[in-house]
């Protein structure tokens, strides 16, 4: 790719004319399993990257917008996150786990934030944080794993979808110039379903250790040896991932994102989730061309003894909100370009169960945080908690399709405009967006 392509508006993300075939063919994991394509001498390792190369990459997403997606795995109890304290039924159904009105942080006289989410209150007040309540999947499965799969693929009810919604959103973006190896990055040991697909995506658990046999500024000879092996391997799956690996290793060595320490006064919770967000911030500050970042946080499956204003769920919410607030503050000026969206596979039963917890439910709450977000507001239609208002008589009903929220975030940050491509078979279209951004 050359830097003169700035007038070329062709879709390099997924060129229908096949001009990017060579690149895609050698870099896609999961799509090459059958070794259908002969791969001979395809190793084109970028020259040692310089600052000017970064400059080129930055134009890849010329608007510099970045989308951060956070998955709360295990089905977070949304009714105890953004609490409908104006509903009497809420207190009736949750005698020992309800958050009392005097404990919560009121938002608008009807909803309130869990007290351990105080870190979100300023973001809400400043108009950066929007809340979408009663959002969820139209599919009614109560299986964590099916529900997560449906949300990550973006095709509820259809298990045959091979790629993730965020990958398709990236594929729909008009990209100019060379894509960065860091365009789509997941903090963790594996590329999540959300990011799997044709577009390259990498997984990194820890920036400081992401290097083969040597932490110095140059790749070690062992690293180069491994690279030579993987470059020419006929094992298509390992070949493709190997190529992404070594490119990412080289870029990291050059940019050394670890030296970007959190801004003054920003302290991330010292937890895996806090550390993931801290590292996403480092990657973004290092100008590595990150456009989409993903991370997740578990521990939400509170069947038992979940607590109310304090306790198990409260601890989780504190970590969750403080990590995100730290990330926001850490990004400083650049937070203007960031859109961050949170999701969980489904909510939990409106009634508490027999063991001080909640079982698998349906609708949930999503947060959208961003520079161009019209926050300070709770979006979506509230379905109520009355007996005939509950889904199947037990859960908060879904009034906003989660894809509508993700779609708007992707549309307005990544510039993915073909919603039928991102969410095939859905009703998502810009006219129906909630207009939170």
């Amino acid at each position: 790719m050359n830097s003169n392509s700035s007038h070329d508006t062709s879709n390099w993300g997924c060129d229908m004319l096949g001009r990017d075939l060579a690149r895609r063919a050698v870099s896609r994991r999961g799509f090459m399993k059958n070794g259908a394509l002969a791969l001979v001498g395809t190793s084109v390792i970028p020259a040692f990257l310089t600052r000017s190369v970064y400059a080129e990459m930055q134009t890849a997403a010329k608007n510099q917008k970045k989308l951060v997606v956070i998955f709360q795995r295990g089905a977070c109890d949304g009714l105890n996150v953004v609490i409908p304290h104006g509903e009497k039924a809420y207190y009736a159904m949750r005698p020992t786990i309800a958050v009392q009105q005097k404990e919560l942080i009121d938002l608008n006289g009807f909803f309130g934030l869990h007290p351990e989410m105080a870190a979100f209150k300023p973001l809400y007040d400043q108009g950066h944080l929007a809340i979408v309540h009663a959002a969820g999947s139209p599919d009614t499965t109560r299986s964590h794993f099916d529900a997560q799969d449906y949300m990550e693929s973006g095709t509820p009810g259809n298990k045959g979808t091979v790629d993730g919604w965020l990958n398709r959103a990236l594929a729909d973006e008009k990209v100019q110039g060379k894509e960065s190896a860091f365009r789509a990055v997941a903090l963790g040991t594996q590329v999540p379903r959300t990011l799997q697909g044709k577009e390259p995506a990498i997984a990194i658990a820890n920036l400081a250790d992401f290097s083969v046999a040597g932490k110095g500024p140059q790749t070690s000879s062992i690293s180069n040896a491994f690279q030579a092996m993987y470059d020419e391997s006929t094992d298509s799956m390992l070949h493709g991932t190997g190529e992404e690996t070594f490119e990412a290793v080289k870029m990291l060595k050059s940019a050394d994102p670890a030296h970007y320490q959190p801004a003054v006064g920003v302290v991330y919770p010292n937890t895996p989730f806090g550390n993931s967000l801290k590292q996403i911030a480092q990657l973004m500050k290092a100008n590595l061309g990150v456009e989409a970042a993903f991370t997740d946080i578990g521990g939400w499956d509170t069947h038992q003894n979940q607590g109310g204003a304090t306790g198990q769920l409260a601890n989780r919410l504190k970590e969750f909100s403080e990590s995100i607030a730290a990330f926001w503050k850490d990004m400083g000026q650049d937070s203007e370009n960031i859109t961050l969206v949170t999701m969980s596979e489904f909510g939990r039963t409106a009634r508490q169960n027999g063991t001080g917890g909640t079982d698998h439910g349906h609708a949930n709450v999503m947060f959208v945080l961003g520079g161009s977000v019209k926050g300070g507001k709770i979006y979506g239609k509230w379905p109520g908690l009355g007996p005939d208002q509950l889904n199947e008589g037990r859960d908060l009903a879904v009034t906003t399709d989660f894809r509508n929220v993700l779609g708007e975030a992707a549309y307005k940050s990544l510039g993915a405009h073909d919603m039928q491509r991102v969410f095939p078979g859905s009703q998502v279209n810009p006219a129906a967006f909630l207009d939170f951004a």
Binding site: I202, A205, S233, S236, P269, Q304, N305, G354
Partner: protein, 803 residues
């Protein structure tokens, strides 16, 4: 126990393969007859491997027409549609039914053939496993009953009770010391947390307070800021603390100069330990913390395994000794059991019936019994027996919450309602369970038996699910199964065993999956488990999962149907199902040969086994599994780890595997030593010049067959450059520069002391590792030779990632 893994079975005399390809067809380096190397073992194995090489070079019957070099060895591409050769079948069998071929196993299967080998593995009792048993003697806690384990190693709950003065101290001096120091450390932790909270008040975002790192109420076993508290400062406060003074049992008479290491350390082992037990808890704690590394070695010298455990409990806390041993012994079984198929199946079922070590403070205590009593005895038995054993296991009961589930119309619920009427805001009214918890009931059907494809919901009608599902299960079925299982709980007063509490059981008959289950107490649950275990949906679900584990990521419907038919015909006999799979053409198809990507556990075990590694301390390997993305008992969610290749190939995985390979091959994995000398002979192992012949041998040793030309060329080019094992070690974070975050993983949590920030803490972590390992790491020399470099490169190669 220097070489605990040495196979004792007699090996056949050296025998070169009958068919040799003509010399001119072989790569130059292989033309010379392979030299007899070190031992009978070595030569027998060499013969076997030569044959593998021979066969793979000469694909097809026309031996003389060997194709151009070994270029056709792309491992996964199923490039050949020719049937597998005998040697390939042997490798395939070991790749799929063991944790990786060892030199001895390769020789053995060559001697007796794949069928006899498989038959024997199906009868694990017929295989002598005394070498593993001897190894496990180092972990006496893992042989205790559940009740004994909990008595000897008090959990955090017990220690809390002690601190609150409502527990009782044991009289046995050894146990007394564990309890007293445990309670003392617990108090220190509380005080440290209080101090941190005070400090944190000025900096609310500094969420290092312990509650941020607790999950499900699980306390951090270590004080948050232990270094902030000087032992001296603590002593005065703690000396008057109730615990230290509170022993109800008789204390041993104190020897003079109780806390002087110079006097304590030279004592004979029993007296040395007695001197420790005689110290008051604060002094003992301080004594142990102040020891220098050499003094620690001295302290441990000559101790019996039980004493080593006690010492470890005093230093890192009882819960970590217990949890750590459960992980270590599980890994040792995978690495060294001669009953490899049983070990592989135990691992399969532990993953199928996943539990999570950090679920609660109790869970670590329940793992050993879960493996040894619930899973392993039935790993090759009847599925229903296995299902019943899991349903009754405290480990599963706690993990999926069923122990608390109470029938809404049960006696127990009525009692809670009375409490609520009398004292609506009382603690009992608020905390006692009074209704069902459907967590286990759902996963029982979704993940353990029928499979999620049988779930019926508003979007999936009963008519639309597979016919095998016989109408499937609904949300109502989930709730009714939960009602059936109310009262299935953990009897905490009776050694933490299974107990049926009739008072919690929901009365009346229940409708489950279209069947009426008559009221019958615990018999209801057994009836439902029987219904599930014998369902065709279960037969298919289990068969499919087995086929994915053993055959391919996408097994054919024909294979699944055949296995499921056997499952149903034999009443869920796992052995028969495996045999059907083994006898199926799909298992031997060239398309599936070397087609599975190793999981991190398979990668790690196959590396240690192929290099004939001897493990004196499994803790670093247990921790490595966390770094590789697959900590033992570390999957939080009940679906367990994936068996699909996609999920294990990522940029992060490759970086970690390459670094691990270099660390292991250069003997920089603490506690594990590879034996290149035994693999390639002393002369080759020590040679400063890389030899192609040695490289070729290593290919067979490690990968089992030749690698691609490119891989071989790269290995040879790199072989005489420095191996950079030390650098890889840094990247693999064996001496981590990053902080406690990474250390949060379950493996490190129980496998060893989490290294906190700072060198001091790191050193302490290392020392604790040493202590827990019960062996010294001193004397292990790391060395980088062409052979170790070649070995590391081969284990990091694309070819090694497949099985």
């Amino acid at each position: 126990m220097n070489r605990p893994h040495l196979r004792t079975s007699p090996l056949p005399a050296t025998q070169l393969p009958a068919a040799q390809p003509s010399a001119s067809q072989l790569p130059a380096t292989l033309r010379r007859p392979r030299q007899r190397i070190a031992s009978t073992l070595q030569s027998a194995r060499c013969a076997a491997l030569c044959a593998v090489l021979t066969a793979s070079l000469a694909v097809g019957p026309a031996l003389a027409e060997a194709p151009a070099a070994a270029d056709n060895t792309a491992m996964n591409t199923a490039s050949s549609s020719r049937p597998l050769t005998t040697d390939q079948k042997e490798l395939h069998t070991l790749d799929r039914f063991t944790f990786g071929p060892t030199p001895a196993e390769t020789a053995e299967i060559r001697r007796i053939g794949v069928k006899a080998w498989f038959d024997r593995q199906l009868e694990p009792q017929s295989i002598d496993d005394s070498a593993l048993d001897a190894m496990l003697l180092k972990y006496p806690a893992s042989a205790l009953t559940q009740a004994q384990l909990m008595q000897r190693f008090p959990g955090p709950g017990e220690l809390r009770r002690l601190v609150r003065n409502d527990g009782s101290m044991p009289t046995d001096p050894e146990e007394h010391a564990i309890y007293a120091v445990g309670a003392y450390e617990y108090q220190r932790k509380i005080q440290a947390a209080g101090a941190a909270k005070t400090a944190g008040a000025e900096n609310p975002a500094g969420a290092t307070a312990p509650d941020a790192s607790m999950q499900n109420g699980m306390a951090q076993p270590e004080a948050t800021q232990p270094d902030a508290l000087q032992p001296e400062a603590m002593q005065s406060a703690a000396a008057s603390a109730p615990v230290a003074a509170k022993g109800k049992g008789k204390r041993m008479p104190l020897p003079r100069s109780t806390e002087d290491p110079a006097l304590v350390l030279p004592l004979p082992p029993d007296q040395r330990m007695a001197a420790l037990y005689a110290m008051p808890a604060p002094q003992l704690s301080a004594f142990l913390r102040r020891l220098r590394p050499d003094q620690r070695q001295q302290l441990m010298a000559g101790l019996k395994p039980e004493q080593m455990e006690t010492l470890a409990a005093l230093q890192i806390g009882p819960i970590r000794v217990v949890g750590g041993e459960a992980l270590q012994t599980r890994l040792l079984r995978d690495l060294y059991s001669e009953r490899q198929l049983q070990a592989v199946m135990t691992d399969f079922w532990l993953n199928h019936f996943n539990v999570y070590v950090r679920k609660s403070q109790e869970e670590p205590y329940l793992l050993s019994s879960y493996e040894h009593n619930a899973i392993l005895p039935h790993a090759l038995g009847k599925f229903e027996d296995l299902l019943d054993a899991v349903a009754e296991s405290p480990a599963m009961m706690v993990y999926l919450d069923n122990w608390q589930s109470v029938g809404p119309d049960s006696e127990a619920a009525a009692r809670v309602q009375r409490y609520q009427q009398v004292r609506p805001n009382g603690k009992l009214a608020k905390t006692l369970p009074q209704g069902i918890n459907e967590n286990y009931a759902r996963e029982l059907m979704e993940l353990h038996t029928l499979g999620v494809q049988c779930e019926v919901s508003a979007d999936k009608t009963a008519a639309s699910v597979s016919p095998n599902c016989d109408g499937g299960y609904t949300q109502a079925d989930v709730q009714n199964v939960a009602r059936v299982l109310t009262g299935w709980t953990v009897d905490r007063r009776n050694g933490y065993s299974f107990g049926f509490d009739a008072r919690r059981h929901e009365p009346g008959s229940k409708q489950v999956l279209g069947h009426t289950i008559p009221a019958g107490g615990p018999a209801e649950g057994l009836a439902v488990l029987h219904l599930l275990a014998t369902s065709p949906a279960t037969a298919h679900f289990i068969s499919h999962k087995l086929a994915v584990r053993f055959v391919s990521d996408n097994p054919s419907a024909a294979l699944e149907n055949r296995m499921a038919a056997t499952f149903l015909r034999t009443g869920g006999d796992i052995k028969s199902v495996l045999r059907t799979m083994f006898d199926s053409p799909e298992f031997w198809s060239p398309q599936v040969y070397r087609a599975k990507v190793k999981t991190p556990l398979e990668f790690l075990t196959s590396a240690v086994r192929a290099t004939d590694g001897s493990v004196q301390n499994p803790v670093p390997l247990v921790q490595s599994l966390g770094r590789l993305g697959m900590p033992l008992y570390g999957m939080q969610t009940p679906n367990g780890y994936s068996w699909q290749s996609d999920d294990w190939v990522s940029t992060n995985a490759l970086v970690s595997r390459m670094n691990f390979a270099m660390v292991l091959s250069n003997d920089r994995m603490p506690g594990t030593q590879v034996d290149w000398t035994r693999l390639v002979g002393a002369q080759a192992a020590d040679s400063p010049t890389p030899s192609v012949k040695t490289e070729n041998e290593l290919e067979l040793d490690l990968v089992g067959q030749p690698v691609s030309d490119r891989t071989r060329t790269v290995v040879m080019e790199q072989a005489d450059r420095p191996g950079q094992g030390a650098e890889a070690q840094k990247n693999f974070a064996m001496e981590s520069t990053h902080d406690a975050v990474e250390e949060e993983s379950a493996a490190s949590m129980y496998g060893g002391l989490p290294a906190k920030n700072g060198a001091k803490a790191k050193a302490r972590g290392q020392n604790a590792l040493l202590n827990l390992s019960m062996t010294t790491l001193a004397g292990v020399t790391t060395r980088e030779t062409p052979v170790s470099t070649m070995g590391g490169l081969l284990m990091g190669s694309p070819e090694f990632q497949r099985r």
